[in-house]
């Protein structure tokens, strides 16, 4: 996905590039599902911004913009979150929830740039305690993925949830 790799006319991604990006996103999802959060942090660039704005129902064709969010993070605050989750007394995740990220509809934007835009859908499944009920959260991710020469890293992510009022009490993982 670097400039030298871009051999297709019009900057369209090759099959190899598509597979490589998909595998990166699947690998990221697997790390999150297994609570391997230090390894997940390694997939982020130093200048990462990770946002998940609040959605609010507005009239058709209204552009939604809100500075508040479910997440509004940089690497320092994401690291703080991971440090907390690794603590024995992070009560939300000790015992850990059973989570699974389903990533699909991966579309890669124009290659040949330093940071390549990648869109994907995400669905998070969560089951906790001894409850038969489960939570499902749906959303889309608008990412910028950077080929550092030593593998891909996530440079930016905006998660747009498909929920205005969330029916889950907290989000203790990352989407």
């Amino acid at each position: 996905m670097t400039k030298t790799d871009s051999t297709n006319a019009g900057g369209l991604p090759s099959v190899e590039q598509q597979l490589a990006v998909r595998n990166f996103l699947y690998h990221e999802a697997e790390l999150l599902d297994n609570w391997e959060l230090d390894e997940w942090l390694q997939l982020l660039t130093e200048d990462i911004t990770y946002t998940m704005p609040v959605r609010i129902t507005q009239a058709k064709n209204t552009v939604e913009r809100t500075p508040t969010g479910h997440f509004n993070d940089d690497l320092a605050s994401l690291s703080l979150r991971v440090r907390r989750l690794e603590h024995e007394y992070a009560w939300t995740e000790n015992p850990p929830s059973r989570i699974r990220h389903f990533v699909s509809n991966v579309q890669i934007g124009e290659v040949g740039r330093d940071d390549v835009p990648v869109r994907s859908n995400v669905m998070l499944f969560r089951n906790r305690e001894d409850l038969p009920e489960y939570d499902v959260i749906s959303g889309e991710r608008n990412d910028l993925i950077r080929d550092t020469g030593e593998g891909f890293k996530l440079a930016k992510r905006e998660v747009l949830l498909d929920h205005a009022v969330l029916d889950v009490d907290y989000i203790s993982t990352f989407l």
Partner: protein, 465 residues
């Protein structure tokens, strides 16, 4: 799919008098019946006797700055349109067409001079006035539009730009309702010349917890922070300078004012006067805030503000305030943020939490961004503090629905600092009104249940006098 982890018991309070007598006996000893925290019949009574009778926070004037701005808000669970009308006035209008009752405001937020009902096209100005009835001459020749406008909430009032509304037409004024709490709200909500400004839209989410558990946590309880929030503190949510972890240079002050409660975490005089404290006094707000304090604040109020690191308050029954010095990065200094919470009592085992971020109007847009960052890390959906609160609250709601809670008349211990155990004395040096106690104290919880009891058993009394 909605999670229903707890069972609700359909309990008909067939012997209401005996039920409340049991509750009274418990409260007199500082005990609260667990069943109150997940009981369908109790919840129905609370909607009628508490939420329909009290002042409810609706929104802040800075959320609807321009004419035509509106947003959908709730009094209890009743939908109202919070709008700034064409004349610049604030309106709180019942979201129901006067014709057949469907909602005329169909989004959560927007800007519009009019609301048009999709059913038959009746059209209302954002003042509430009915200005359009299709085929009126043919169909409604005698209808007087002045009698068929959108209904306003029976009472609307405002404090420092925070707009409240009530379904009770006879309720006392907001200022009377707040009573001595206004001395504290002057500091918390009206600190600077420019006033507080909402940042973005509130986070809204549903938690499987009874509303009273949430209100109690907003009103005080310094006792839980060491255990519930240990993971967040050790991860670095509070800088050394903010002293939440060390405890050497701060202490808790619980204050009770006319049925509402506060918990101040204060710096000691010695620390507050030292140069080390320069950046962390006044909740670590920057110079542009500290230099523009409201001139109407007294010396006593300024002194309390100066020594404040965290202040939490609960306004009965559904509003929480948390003024906090916090940071999203332990290598960065703390900054001050104001979190406002509204509790929407969905059912006996579910609450919809609304979380707003406010900052003083004097702060920069960079500050607002940092405040948004810090707040999302600490509170709201992914907050490292708020998550663990909910993790422990869920179990309360679950056990409260049990048959055993009823057959055993299972009681919860709210006896910390009770008068029968005179380990704490009133702090006579507290400069403001209300009763103040240093150290750990369950008074905030006990007072919530005293309010609850008065509203539930004396429908016509003024419970908060």
């Amino acid at each position: 799919m909605a999670v229903e982890p707890v069972s609700t018991t359909v309990s008909s309070l067939s012997d209401e008098e005996s039920f409340f007598a049991d509750v009274r006996e418990g409260l007199d000893q500082g005990l609260v019946p667990s069943r109150l925290l997940n009981d369908r019949a109790v919840h129905e009574m609370e909607m009628e006797r508490i939420f329909a009778k009290t002042w409810s926070f609706v929104g802040h004037v800075t959320e609807i700055p321009d004419r035509g701005d509106y947003t959908l808000r709730y009094i209890g669970n009743d939908p109202f349109i919070f709008a700034r009308d064409e004349n610049g006035q604030i309106q709180v209008l019942f979201n129901s067409c006067r014709h057949r009752g469907t909602n005329v405001c169909r989004t959560e937020k927007g800007n519009s001079s009019h609301f048009r009902c999709p059913y038959h096209g009746w059209t209302y100005q954002n003042t509430g006035k009915l200005v359009g009835v299709p085929r009126k001459d043919e169909c409604f020749a005698d209808l007087d539009p002045d009698e068929w406008g959108l209904k306003s909430a029976p009472r609307v009032d405002e404090y420092a730009g925070f707009v409240f509304a009530s379904l009770n037409p006879d309720i006392e004024s907001l200022e009377e309702y707040l009573g001595d709490l206004t001395w504290h709200l002057d500091i918390l909500l009206d600190l600077t010349e420019g006033g507080m400004e909402a940042v973005g839209d509130p986070v809204r989410r549903r938690i499987d917890v009874n509303w009273k558990t949430v209100l109690e946590a907003n009103s005080g309880d310094a006792y839980h922070t060491a255990s519930t929030h240990q993971s967040a503190f050790e991860a670095g949510i509070a800088n050394e300078g903010s002293t939440q972890v060390t405890g050497r240079i701060n202490y808790s002050e619980s204050v009770y004012a006319d049925g509402h409660s506060l918990m101040y975490r204060m710096y000691t005089d010695e620390f507050a006067d030292s140069p080390d404290a320069d950046d962390v006094v006044y909740w670590a707000y920057p110079a542009e805030v500290k230099n523009r304090l409201n001139e109407t604040l007294t010396e006593g109020q300024k002194e309390v503000a100066r020594k404040s690191n965290i202040t939490a308050s609960g306004i009965f029954p559904s509003m929480g305030i948390a003024h906090t010095a916090t940071s999203a990065d332990p290598n960065e200094p703390d900054i001050g943020v104001l979190q406002i919470r509204k509790i929407r009592p969905i059912s006996a085992n579910e609450t919809e939490e609304w979380d707003w971020l406010f900052v003083p109007a004097e702060t920069s847009s960079e500050y607002k961004q940092k405040a948004s960052n810090a707040t999302s890390v600490r509170a709201g959906t992914s907050g490292v503090i708020s998550q663990d609160d909910i993790a422990v609250w869920r179990g309360i709601t679950k056990s409260a629905a049990s048959d055993f809670a009823r057959t055993d008349n299972y009681m919860l211990n709210y006896q910390m600092g009770i008068e029968a155990q005179p380990d704490l004395e009133t702090d006579d040096e507290w400069p403001g009104p209300g009763e103040a106690y240093q150290g750990y104290h369950d008074g905030h919880g006990r007072r919530i249940y005293e309010n609850w009891y008065r509203y539930m058993t004396e429908a016509s009394a003024s419970p908060l006098s």
